[in-house]
């Protein structure tokens, strides 16, 4: 496989479960050396797409290529997969858990244990090497799970929600790990709900919603889809009435300022000009940088997110 051949290709793949479509006609590719963020609300089809990518599930139509061939045994040892739902053998120690997965990926016993020890030391778990998994904190266990998935130093990392359940400190550690992996030229595809991570880490973003791909491009391209906002404050009355023509939505903040969601046509100099004309003296004029979260909301649509929230509430109850 040459260096320009995509590591992963999904061509028009669809998959239904019991007549309900989970993935609809999705195509995308992941090229060598890329960090790709795989985003989307719950039920968007991310996990099914990843399972098809790994060959766990056969698509009803379309085809999948992993390392230029059909996914399966030929990719064993070349992929490190951290699924969304993950765990550890409770009675194994941390080093045994990591070495076991490394050995399943073809690493020799001695080398597997040496790698496990080295990784545990490097990521601050040196003291927990011989600690049983059942005695570890959730954060420690999650780190061990990730190390188990990557101990064989694969070419392609598929990480399904790697940040979920981690505290901010451990999220930062994981972010550093992802950067280190990327620095070695490895390819990473990871799904996440935390937009800040995607924004900071990804070269490219794939956005799924309701089984279909809604966006595939760079972070800056995604941000172009985000609505612009500006925060305004004035000591005079009549600010809200003055700026209403420029806004699709407006919210009064706790400090009294107005949070304006600009319409597509609105330009910030025009707002300033209008305020001057109306005699509204501004004490605050702050155009806000668009966030990936806003782009995500704009691309996916409010309805999909509401459905996602309702689903999560139902799951929690």
């Amino acid at each position: 496989m040459d260096k320009t051949t995509p590591i992963l290709q999904l061509n028009n793949v669809s998959k239904s479960y019991g007549g309900t479509p989970a993935v609809k006609n999705v195509s995308f590719e992941v090229r060598p050396g890329e960090i790709v963020g795989f985003l989307g609300p719950n039920g968007a089809g991310k996990t099914t797409s990843l399972r098809m990518a790994l060959g766990y599930v056969k698509p009803d139509s379309g085809d999948v290529k992993l390392f230029g061939g059909p996914p399966g045994e030929s990719a064993f040892g070349r992929v490190g997969f951290l699924p969304e739902e993950r765990g550890l053998y409770k009675k194994q120690t941390a080093r045994e858990a990591i070495a076991h997965m490394a050995r399943l990926n073809g690493i020799k016993r001695r080398e597997a244990f040496a790698t496990a020890d080295e990784m545990l030391d490097r990521y601050g778990l040196g003291d927990a090497k011989r600690k049983k998994n059942k005695d570890m904190s959730k954060g420690m266990a999650q780190k061990v799970q990730l190390l188990s998935a990557i101990a064989h130093d694969p070419e392609f990392y598929i990480l399904d929600e790697p940040f979920s359940g981690l505290d901010p400190v451990n999220q930062q550690v994981l972010e550093t790990m992802v950067r280190e992996i990327a620095a070695r030229g490895r390819t990473i595809l990871f799904s996440t709900h935390v937009m800040e991570h995607a924004e900071r880490l990804c070269d490219r973003i794939l956005l799924m919603s309701r089984g279909g791909k809604v966006f595939d491009g760079s972070v800056s391209e995604a941000l172009d889809h985000a609505p612009r906002r500006v925060i305004l404050a004035s000591e005079n009355s009549g600010l809200a009435e003055t700026v209403t023509p420029f806004a699709v939505d407006m919210e009064r903040r706790a400090d009294g300022a107005l949070d304006l969601l600009l319409s597509r046509e609105a330009q910030t100099p025009d707002i300033l000009e209008r305020c001057v004309q109306a005699g509204v003296r501004l004490t605050r004029f702050e155009p806000m940088r668009a966030s990936l979260h806003e782009a995500f909301v704009a691309l996916v649509g409010r309805d999909a997110l509401d459905a996602d929230d309702a689903e999560m509430t139902e799951e929690l109850s």
Partner: protein, 499 residues
């Protein structure tokens, strides 16, 4: 990653992954206290036995009995009949040990034991085979008769109640019972007094004595004696059993008569069938719990990036089989040591006969049925475990499998008595029961076509079951759901109902 590393991974034999999974499962159980308790149970029992022996604690100490006889005849006769019974019993035990000797010497040895007594026979064996026979001890007498410490029942009460004890050879013992015979010699009125009614060998001895007495009195009416009657029984015509399969090599001196050795393949077949049953029963718990644990641990999905579904299934099956073998290792070891000891130090003719009774083809066929039978049931149990979400689910799901296994147990029982009955023949071909039934039938050398048909059907069923179970396993693991998903699929796809 270097190309060198990748090429070595690609060439990794699949068995390595199966073995890794098997060993992970195996070690997971081996590292528990429960395993070591069951593993060391025989050793613990042996140690307990040695401890009891060292401390001179007898689990079934002899009962001390006494006799008060008003007739002056029957009391002494009952005690003598007990001594005679015990002599006969000991003689029989030592005569059975003649099997240790070459066949030509066995008849002479039995005659010498009959003439000189059991102790002399045992001494002779210990001279010949000190390693084997030195450990043999004749069982102690179940009763010891002592002189009555008091003359009347009323006076004996403190001893019978346990308030007072007897002094026998310097040892303080309790009087367990008293035989009282009132009346006259011709019209005795026997009674047995004891606080232990559940185990009263003296009562049974008395019943045998008076039954013999009644027989002797009856025979006497025809001017016959009990001794003459017993002699007549000894000289009865003996019935010989022959095996037509042995006709080809039979001669006038060495006819096709069936000996105890000929029963060995049957016994081994029953043993193997039970071994398979035990392996499945013992392994079933591990397979089910291991699958539920896997689902709860949520590691399978990660493993699937480097392992096939079939390899995980086979690994789990191998792990459970290894665990069962390890649990039974002490027993297997004892059998192996016994066999090796017998082949090296025992009767060479019998060792040769045993080798002849188990030709390699029979051994190989048995092993094939053992392996296929285990794989068949283990695959089903793994698939059920993959569908279960709790132990409760697993128990409900595995109930039908357990019922089928009990059918296998039924086949073993029928097969022991009638290996060629139509139901056993059918069971030996029907894949659900064939592993058990065919192992029982192999000893009676069934037609080759039946063996091949049974093996073919079982092997095909194993492949089919593994294929179906791999799909269920894959579905159970990836869906994370339980039986409800199957019933929902059944309603939707088969019954065409919306769910």
């Amino acid at each position: 990653m270097s190309d060198r590393q990748f090429s070595s991974r690609k060439g990794l034999p699949k068995f390595s992954r199966i073995w890794l999974i098997a060993m992970r499962d195996f070690m997971g159980y081996v590292k528990t206290w429960g395993f070591w308790l069951s593993f060391l149970l025989p050793v613990l029992f042996a140690g307990f036995g040695i401890m009891m022996q060292t401390a001179d604690i007898d689990f079934s100490p002899p009962r001390y009995e006494t006799v008060i006889d008003d007739t002056g005849v029957h009391g002494q006769a009952i005690v003598e009949s007990f001594a005679a019974e015990r002599d006969a019993q000991m003689t029989e035990i030592v005569q059975a040990m003649a099997a240790l000797l070459p066949e030509a010497e066995q008849v002479g040895f039995r005659a010498r034991v009959e003439r000189d007594g059991a102790a002399a026979g045992l001494a002779e064996l210990q001279d010949r085979y000190p390693m084997v026979a030195s450990q043999v001890e004749l069982p102690p007498a179940s009763m010891v008769f002592v002189a009555p410490p008091a003359a009347t029942l009323e006076a004996l009460a403190p001893w019978l109640e346990g308030e007072r004890s007897l002094d026998v050879n310097g040892k303080s013992v309790r009087l367990n019972g008293v035989i009282i015979i009132r009346g006259t010699a011709d019209a005795p009125e026997p009674q047995y007094w004891s606080k232990n009614f559940n185990n009263a060998p003296a009562q049974r001895l008395m019943e045998r004595y008076f039954r013999g007495l009644a027989k002797a009195r009856f025979l006497k009416t025809g001017e016959l004696t009990s001794e003459a009657y017993d002699e007549a029984l000894k000289s009865r015509t003996q019935v010989s059993v022959f095996d037509p399969a042995k006709l080809s090599g039979a001669t006038a001196d060495d006819p096709a008569a069936v000996s105890r050795l000929d029963q060995l393949p049957f016994i081994a077949g029953i043993g193997l069938a039970f071994f398979l049953l035990m392996t499945i029963f013992a392994g079933s718990f591990m397979l089910l719990t291991s699958m539920i644990e896997e689902k709860m641990n949520k590691l399978l999905e990660m493993m699937l990036a480097s392992t096939r579904f079939s390899e995980i299934m086979l690994g789990k099956m191998l792990g459970a089989a290894l665990l069962t073998l390890a649990s039974l290792a002490p027993y297997i070891l004892v059998i192996l040591v016994g066999l090796v000891g017998f082949f090296f130090f025992g009767n060479p003719e019998q060792a040769a006969a045993i080798r002849e009774a188990f030709p390699p083809s029979t051994v190989a066929t048995s092993v094939i049925f053992l392996v296929l039978g285990y794989m068949f049931y283990a695959a089903i149990l793994i698939a059920l475990g993959a569908l279960a979400q709790s132990m409760q689910d697993a128990q409900t799901l595995s109930l039908p499998v357990m019922l089928v296994l009990f059918m296998g147990l039924g086949v073993i029982v029928i097969g022991v008595n009638a290996p060629d009955s139509p139901i056993v023949i059918f069971a030996s071909i029907f894949p659900l029961t064939s592993p058990f039934a065919m192992m029982i039938r192999l000893a009676s050398e069934p037609p080759l076509w039946q063996v091949l048909l049974s093996m073919g059907l079982l092997a095909s069923s194993v492949v089919g079951v593994m294929w179906v179970c791999a799909r269920i396993f894959r579905f159970g693991v990836l869906s994370g759901s339980g039986v409800s998903a199957i019933s929902s699929w059944f309603r939707r796809v088969i019954l065409r109902k919306s769910v």
